[in-house]
Amino acid sequence: MASRRRMLLKVIILGDSGVGKTSLMNQYVNRKFSNQYKATIGADFLTKEVQFEDRLFTLQIWDTAGQERFQSLGVAFYRGADCCVLVHDVNVMKSFENLNNWREEFLIQASPSDPENFPFVVLGNKIDIDGGNSRVVSEKKAKAWCASKGNIPYFETSAKDGFNVEAAFQCIAKNALKNEPEEEIYLPETIDVGGGGRNQRSSGCEC
């Protein structure tokens, strides 16, 4: 049956350029952080095995590959996502205000079968900067927005220190798993053109 499909969970990370999407992924998957910002090059998606109730799943975390910069992500990127992570920089108000646009863009493009209950997770990143003194988006404000959108789970993170990153992705994996798979598209199985590569591939930073 669709076992292969269910073992693989697609997670996409959205948010304005520079909020730390790639850093969060790298911190979670490779436990690495680089202070050098470069608009994402070379990362396609990262994969990580996660265990949940005695079962192993592959979390496939997709990066925007810089296509978010001019809101130019294609519909193929959004489709088939099991969980959508919305990231803002707590030090940049605009990045928080844009969460609403990213959420709506996702719902239009991915058109999930049950948009009301589609799992989102919101991350307020870069809480480490300037000891929190340059912060402009309060936890209260972020939580209020999350509550208004159907109680989206909210985490404050620092990709740099690794603070709360593991916990956030645990929640992401759990919610991705709860998401009902999209109908019968994957039945019967699709043709494995890449010779199994789709599951195993873990590209990106080798540095």
Partner: protein, 551 residues
């Protein structure tokens, strides 16, 4: 007026306008080769004429890109150091006719993903599949197989004949006589031997050349003559020519244009491709596959690969003019709708745009050397007529994805071209459950001829569908109207064909009338090498080798 963002940096190795498949492959190959690439599209979606769209967008795209609709270019003043050439919108479609008799059964528009240039399929062993493996594009696309291929026979009782395209299919075929089975088996064996010889050709010498199963002379002869010398009866010749080698034009008429004649070597190449495609991938039962969500996935996958390699993507960004250096008369850059000017060494442009040629730019001329007039009509090299129909019944009750070939003369005696119809079901995520999408296309010389062929094929399909209908719902006679419930929705249109060309700017080819992407890929690779003569097109990487080894 839209609020356009400003783009930085302002200088690139390559600027690509339009995200059609050839443009996207070029962007991806160039970014992979380490070039800095800016990829722009005035649309809010990827793929241009190669995209797959929701039902309502599909209709509006057809209408807004057809001849009757003209777009006024924005006039912007020339700057001091450069001359401006305003880009003209080039509408590839004409004679669009959309009929919507039973829209109540269709459901939401966004449950459809309709190809603008269908029907198109990939052979499993296609060079296109190999390029997708090399580039990593296959990580973004999933495929399913086409369940069966049929040849339409106007006269027979059972109008659809399964194509006996493999050893086991020949063996199981109920329509072939024992003698025909033997002939076909022995023909496939000859071809197989020839292919093996080609593979061993590296070690060949003059003696071996002469001992070949198929001589060099034979290879240069028309494929039809070769089939005749092998003693194949006409029904089998027809299957090989039109349903396996996928010939577009009647090979049996003496009036055939010389460049449409399939030579034996090319015919055998197609048979070899077909043969290699069978069984290449586990659970692809036949030779042909189709991407889930439609062929628009292909350009998106290549764009994504380009982005991963650093290409910058900006949708919803029209380009209004090309900047031409006043002194050298060379291409220098582009001006965006925002007024911003960006510069690059090379420019790749989708066939939706043409540059009005003027004497200001000496280096850009069309083939005829006509430098004073716009290039708009002169380089149109043919027409393809296309139709998309939505039905509630499958042509074959147990199958949903199938290809039907109407060989020349099968619909009516004057039919000079093959008509191909591809039915796809909801398993490919191109329509809601319970519905089917039919893509039909044929080459043609004139609009009337193309439309006549489409209508004849649609009538034949409607007849097949209504027979299915009658047999399954004999009780409810009200279900069978004149040509009523057969097509819930249909669109018929004619598309211009243009080849790619490269002078100072590279102009990409339009979608072609072939079933597969081989010709398109060939011309795209050629355009790439015209830009970057010394650079390898998607060099072999470790990743790709691993994937190959896994097979």
């Amino acid at each position: 007026m839209a609020d356009y963002p400003s783009i930085d940096p302002s200088s690139f190795d390559l600027i690509v306008i339009g995200t059609g498949l050839p443009e996207s492959i070029l962007a991806s190959a160039s970014a992979t080769a380490g070039k800095t690439v800016l990829h722009l599209d005035p649309n809010s979606f990827y793929g241009n004429h190669f995209s797959s769209l929701p039902l309502d967008h599909f209709s509006s795209f057809l209408q807004s890109h057809s001849h009757c609709h003209s777009q006024q270019p924005n006039i912007s003043p020339p700057t001091s150091s450069s001359n401006c050439l305003h880009l003209k919108h080039n509408n590839l479609f004409s004679h669009v006719h959309i009929s919507n008799p039973h829209s109540e059964y269709l459901g939401p528009s966004n449950k459809f993903s309709l190809d603008l240039s269908g029907p198109k399929l990939l052979f499993c062993a296609d060079p296109m599949v190999n390029i997708m493996l090399k580039s990593g594009a296959t990580y973004h696309i999933e495929f399913k197989g086409v369940d069966a291929t049929y040849v339409y026979r106007g006269d027979g009782d059972d109008k659809l004949m399964t194509v006996p395209d493999s050893r086991s299919a020949i063996f199981k075929s109920s329509v072939l006589t024992l003698k025909e089975k033997r002939q076909l088996m022995s023909f496939f064996k000859t071809v197989q031997e020839h292919i093996l010889e080609l593979e061993a050709a590296l070690t060949s010498n003059e003696e071996m050349r002469r001992a070949r199963t198929i001589s060099d002379e034979e290879l240069e002869c028309p494929f039809i003559d070769f089939l005749t010398t092998k003693g194949l009866p006409s029904n089998i010749k027809s299957i090989i020519l039109y349903a396996i080698a996928m010939a577009d034009y009647d090979q049996e008429t003496p009036l055939l244009r010389k460049d449409f004649v399939i030579k034996t070597k090319d015919g055998i190449k197609s048979l070899a491709l077909h043969n290699m495609s069978l069984g290449r991938f586990v659970n692809a039962s036949g030779a042909l596959i189709y991407p889930i969500y439609g062929q628009g996935e292909l350009s998106q996958a290549f764009c994504r690969c380009a982005a991963v390699k650093g290409a910058l993507y900006v949708l919803r960004m029209p380009v209004t003019a090309l900047l031409i250096d006043k002194e050298s008369n060379c291409y220098k850059g582009v001006r965006l709708a925002s007024g911003q000017e960006l510069f690059s060494h090379h420019l790749v442009m989708s066939p939706s745009f043409t540059v009005p040629l003027s004497s200001t730019i000496s280096s850009i001329r069309d083939v005829q050397g006509d430098s004073s007039e716009s290039s708009s009509r002169s380089d149109v090299e043919g027409l393809v007529a296309r139709a998309v129909c939505i039905t509630r019944v499958s042509i074959k009750p147990d199958l949903s994805n199938l290809l039907i070939i109407f060989p020349p003369r099968s619909l009516y005696p004057e039919q000079m071209t093959s008509v191909r119809a591809l039915q796809l079901g909801s398993g490919l995520a191109v329509c809601p459950p319970g519905l089917f999408v039919l893509y039909i296309s044929t080459m043609c010389d004139a609009v009337a001829q193309g439309k006549e062929l489409l209508h004849a094929a649609m009538n034949a399909l409607a007849h097949l569908l209504s027979r299915k209908h009658e047999s399954s719902t004999t009780m409810e006679s009200d279900c069978v109207e004149e040509d009523g419930p057969n097509f819930l929705w249909s669109a018929i249109y004619v598309q211009e064909l243009r080849k790619g060309s490269s002078e100072i700017i590279v102009s990409c080819p339009t979608p072609d009338g072939r079933l597969d992407y081989r010709d398109m890929l060939d011309s795209t690779i050629k355009l790439f090498h015209e830009m970057y003569a010394e650079v390898e097109f998607f060099p072999e990487t470790e990743d790709a080798e691993n994937a190959e080894n896994d097979e």
